[in-house]
Amino acid sequence: MGLGKVYGGLAAVDGVSFTVRRGEVFALVGPNGAGKSTTLKMLATILTATSGAARVFGLDLRDDAEAVRRRISYLPEEAGAYRNLAGDDYLRFMADISLDDAGAREEAFAFGSRLSGLGERLRERIKTYSKGMTRKLLLARTVMNRPGLAILDEPTSGLDVLNAFEIRRAVRALAAEGMTFLVSSHNMLEVEFISDRVAIMNRGRILACDTPSALKEAHRARNLEDVFVELAR
C-alpha cells in the first residue's frame, strides 16, 4: 500500500497500491519511465521501498524478505544467463539453489527443460543461444519451480513475433493451471491479450486499475492504448 521509491530526490514510484489475486495475470502497463520496473524490483526484494509497505502472501517485504523469496520468482527485463554454462546446467543450477528437496529439484528441472522447448540445444552453452532462446530458457527457469508468484518484467521485450507469441502463450497456459503472474509491459496490445487485470502507470503513479474490457468500456476506447492516451492527458 502506498509503495514509493525515491532515487536521488526523484520519485520513480509514488504511492502505488494494488492487489494481485491468486491465479490471475496482473499487468503493469505504461510507457518507459513509468515506474513499472522499479515497482517489480521492490516486490522482488531487489530494491527497498522508501515509503509505504507491501505484502506478498501475507509476508512483509521489508521484514520477511527471505521468506518472500521462497514464494516468488523474478525475471528482470533483458536479463542474461551465465554464458559459459550449458542451458541444462543453468536450469539445474537454478533448481539447486531454489529448492531443498532433491525430488522437487528433479521435477523442476524436467518441467523447465520441457517448457523451454530447446530440446537438444539445452546441452549447448548459453552464449551460442539467440535472444529468443535465452528468453525462453529464462522464462522456463522463472516458472519451473512453480512459484506462488512469478514476476516478469517486459517478458517479450526485443523478441520477434513468433518468440513473443510463444512466451505469451506459455504464460497464459501456466495461468490456466493456477500460477499467479505479475508482469510489466509497455506494449499495451500485448497486455490486453495476456492479462486478467491491468494497472495503467505513468510518472510513478497508477492512473487506473481494472480488467482490460472494463477499462476500455469506462473510457469508451477501442484498446488499452487509447485508454492510456485518455488518462495521460
Binding site: Y7, K36, Y82, N84
Partner: protein
C-alpha cells in the same frame, strides 16, 4: 552448505572460461620460454666469449697470461693493427667483446718489479641481458690475465716461494651469522640465495593478488550488467552465502593460478640464477643454509602459504566491493585501480625498503596495508620471525572479516544494485 557448494562450483565454472584462461596460460608460457631462451643465451655467452688481444710486448709473461685465458675456455684472438686505435677498429668489426692491449715493456717491468699498465676496451654492442652478462664474463677474463702476470712477477722476485702466497698472503674466511647461528659460508652465495627466495615469492604474490582481484570484480560487474545478480539475489539463497561463494570460488581459481605461476617463474629464475660458477658446491651451500636455519621447513612454507592466502582473500573481499561500484564490465578496471595501486605500492616498498628502518609513520602505514604482511612473510619466516608472520595473518584475517562484513551488508540491502562509481542519473523505470 549444499547451496554454498553449488554456488562455488558455478563461480569456478564461470571463471574457467577461455577469456580468463588464455592470458594466464600465455603468461606462464612466456615465463618458461623466456627462461629457456635466457638459459641458452647464458650457455652461449660462456662458451663463445672472444677476447681480442694486441700483445705489443710478446714476452714470456704475456704469453703465459694468454695461455691461462685459453685454459679457461676463452677464445683469444690476435687483434690486427699496429696500435690500440687500429686494433680496436678491427675488434669492433669482429666478434670480440673486449680488447686487451699489452703495451711493450711488460717483461722488463716484471723483472724490475715496476707496475705495468694493461689497457682494457669493453665493446658494448647492446644493452640486452646477454651483453651485460658478457661484460661480467669479460671482467673475469681480465682478472685471470692480471693474476697470471702477477704469478710470473712473483716467481721472478721470490724464486722458490709459493706465488699464490706472495699475491694473497691473507686468506679470507667468510662467516654468516643468522639468529645467533654462525656458519662458515660464502657471504655472496648466501645473500644471493636469500634474495632469490625473498624476491621470487613476492612477485608471484603480486601477480596473483592483482589477477584474483580483477577476476572477482569482473564477475560481480558482469553479473550486474547481465542482471544474473538480480535473478540470483531474488532467489531463496541467503545473500551472505552468495558473497562467501564468490570469494571462495575466485580464491580457489586464484590458488590454482598461483601454483601455475610459481612453476613458470621458477623455471625462469632457475635459468637466470644458473649463471656463474659457484664458489662452493651446491651441497655445501645447502648444508650451510640448513645449519643457519635458512631452509624453510614444511611448517614455514605452510605459514607463508597461509599469509599469502589471507592476502588474496583480503584482495578478493575488497575487489568484490569495488566490483559493485562498477556499472558494467568496462568500468571494472577503473573501479579496481585503487586496489591495484595499493598492492603495487606495498609490493615495491617491501622490495626496496626495510620497514623496520623506516620512520614510524611510514612503517605503520605500510603495515596497515594487509598485503604488506603477505609480501613480508617469506623474509620473516626465513629469519625465524614466526610471531611477526602470525601477527600479520591475524591482522589480515581481521581486515578480511571487516570487508566481508561490509560486502555482505551491501549485498543484503539494495546498495549492490544502486551503488555507482560515476554520478549518473538513477534508473527511472
Amino acid at each position: 552448505m549444499r547451496k554454498f557448494l553449488v554456488l562455488v562450483r558455478k563461480e569456478v565454472r564461470e571463471l574457467l572460461s577461455p577469456q580468463f584462461l588464455v592470458p594466464i596460460i600465455l603468461v606462464i608460457l612466456l615465463f618458461m620460454v623466456m627462461g629457456k631462451v635466457l638459459a641458452r643465451q647464458n650457455m652461449g655467452s660462456t662458451a663463445t666469449e672472444t677476447i681480442a688481444v694486441l700483445d705489443l710486448d710478446r714476452g714470456a709473461v704475456s704469453a703465459g697470461g694468454l695461455e691461462r685465458l685459453r685454459e679457461a675456455q676463452y677464445q683469444v684472438e690476435a687483434a690486427a693493427g699496429a696500435d690500440a686505435a687500429e686494433a680496436l677498429r678491427s675488434a669492433e668489426r669482429g666478434r670480440a667483446t673486449a680488447l686487451v692491449v699489452i703495451p711493450p715493456g711488460l717483461e722488463d717491468s716484471a723483472k724490475a718489479q715496476k707496475p705495468h699498465e694493461l689497457q682494457i676496451y669493453r665493446i658494448f654492442r647492446g644493452l640486452d641481458v646477454r651483453s651485460l652478462v658478457s661484460a661480467t664474463m669479460g671482467q673475469r677474463a681480465i682478472r685471470l690475465l692480471a693474476d697470471s702476470i702477477g704469478t710470473a712477477a712473483a716467481r721472478r722476485r721470490f724464486p722458490g716461494a709459493d706465488p699464490a702466497f706472495i699475491k694473497h698472503p691473507i686468506t679470507l674466511r667468510e662467516h654468516v651469522v643468522v639468529n645467533g647461528k654462525t656458519e662458515p659460508a660464502s657471504i655472496a652465495e648466501i645473500s644471493g640465495f636469500l634474495q632469490s627466495q625473498t624476491k621470487f615469492v613476492p612477485v608471484v604474490i603480486f601477480m596473483v593478488i592483482a589477477l584474483a582481484s580483477q577476476m572477482v570484480a569482473l564477475t560481480v560487474a558482469s553479473e550486474k550488467e547481465n542482471k544474473t545478480l538480480e535473478i540470483l539475489l531474488s532467489s531463496p539463497v541467503p545473500r551472505r552465502t552468495v558473497v562467501a561463494a564468490k570469494i571462495a570460488g575466485s580464491g580457489l581459481v586464484a590458488m590454482c593460478f598461483t601454483g601455475a605461476y610459481m612453476i613458470g617463474l621458477q623455471v625462469f629464475l632457475n635459468s637466470i640464477v644458473a649463471q656463474g660458477p659457484a664458489q662452493y658446491s651446491e651441497t655445501a651451500l645447502r648444508g650451510a643454509l640448513v645449519r643457519l636455519g635458512l631452509i624453510l621447513s614444511p611448517g614455514g612454507h605452510a605459514l607463508i602459504g597461509l599469509s599469502v592466502l589471507c592476502g588474496i582473500l583480503c584482495a578478493l573481499a575488497i575487489a568484490l566491493i569495488l566490483g559493485i561500484l562498477a556499472d558494467d564490465v568496462k568500468a571494472v578496471q577503473a573501479a579496481n585501480a585503487p586496489l591495484f595501486v595499493t598492492v603495487l605500492f606495498s609490493y615495491l616498498m617491501t622490495v626496496f625498503v626495510d620497514p623496520a628502518g623506516a620512520s614510524a609513520g611510514f612503517r605503520w602505514m605500510l603495515y596497515a596495508i594487509p598485503f604488506t604482511h603477505a609480501f613480508l612473510a617469506p623474509q620473516n619466516a626465513l629469519m625465524g620471525r614466526h610471531a611477526a608472520v602470525w601477527l600479520g595473518i591475524a591482522y589480515q584475517a581481521a581486515v578480511f572479516a571487516a570487508f566481508v562484513a561490509l560486502a555482505s551488508r551491501l549485498f543484503v540491502g539494495e546498495t549492490v544494485f544502486t551503488a555507482r562509481l560515476r554520478r549518473s542519473a538513477p534508473p527511472r523505470d
